[in-house]
Amino acid sequence: MSVVNYGTREITCKIVYYGPGRSGKTTNLQHVYSQLPEERKGKMVSLATETDRTLFFDFLPLDLGTISGFATRFQLYTVPGQVYYAATRKLVLQGVDGVVFVADSQSRQLAENIESLQDLHANLADEGLDPRTIPLVMQYNKRDLPAAEISSVDALDEILNFRGVPHYSAAAISGKGVFETLRSISTLVLARLSAPAAKGS
């Protein structure tokens, strides 16, 4: 996906929230949506099952208006976390500019975090994207749970964050850490604005 298009004076960034099922990806988007001023609220598209699990994906378009002469849009997506929705995750990753990996801090979810991270790397590689260089931010969610139930941030970082990318503690259900994470991934994505797109590419 083109990040900056000089021809049409547009900047479009696609950010995907990735992670295991029930780690809080949709909750992140819901918090962002809840903070949008009324006049900026578009439609958040969310397809959930009866038990509130994301069935397909969530999509939140963020129209930031004209910035430095460029119409700027961020598109936030989540993927369904459950293992059997592999095809959907691949589809959502197409054209991604940056990834937020939402890890579940609960100790018993560590294996799921690792599995999801491996799945992310495999799917990025399938899309021709280098998992070692694509803008990535780690979010360790559910830090509001009792200390006995969650792994320490250092432990999570050591196991999951081998690239040493920025990481954030969060309790997305109350909004803590949500915008810090979004700001961080946005900065990383925008830092990759390097060359003007010649003809709409």
Partner: protein, 72 residues
């Protein structure tokens, strides 16, 4: 050029406004640096052909490009 988004951010409040202000600042910086890089290339293309000796044009491809551009 970044004045407009700053104004927008001022008019809004809360976490989103902070986010918008930061993103606007980042984009303004990036666009500025890209413009700087893009400008020399653009001017270089329209440079007058180098004349080695009076009346002898040595860079025919450049001249041809300019002629085509002017015909357009």
């Amino acid at each position: 050029m970044a004045k407009k988004p700053e104004k927008q951010a001022e008019e809004e409040s809360g976490e989103f406004a902070d986010f918008l202000a930061d993103v606007s600042k980042e984009i303004a910086q990036r666009v500025e640096s890209l413009d700087k890089r893009a400008t020399p290339a653009a001017t270089e293309k329209k440079k007058t052909p180098i004349v080695a000796d009076a009346g002898i044009i040595v860079e025919w491809p450049n001249v041809a490009d300019r002629m085509i551009e002017e015909i357009r």
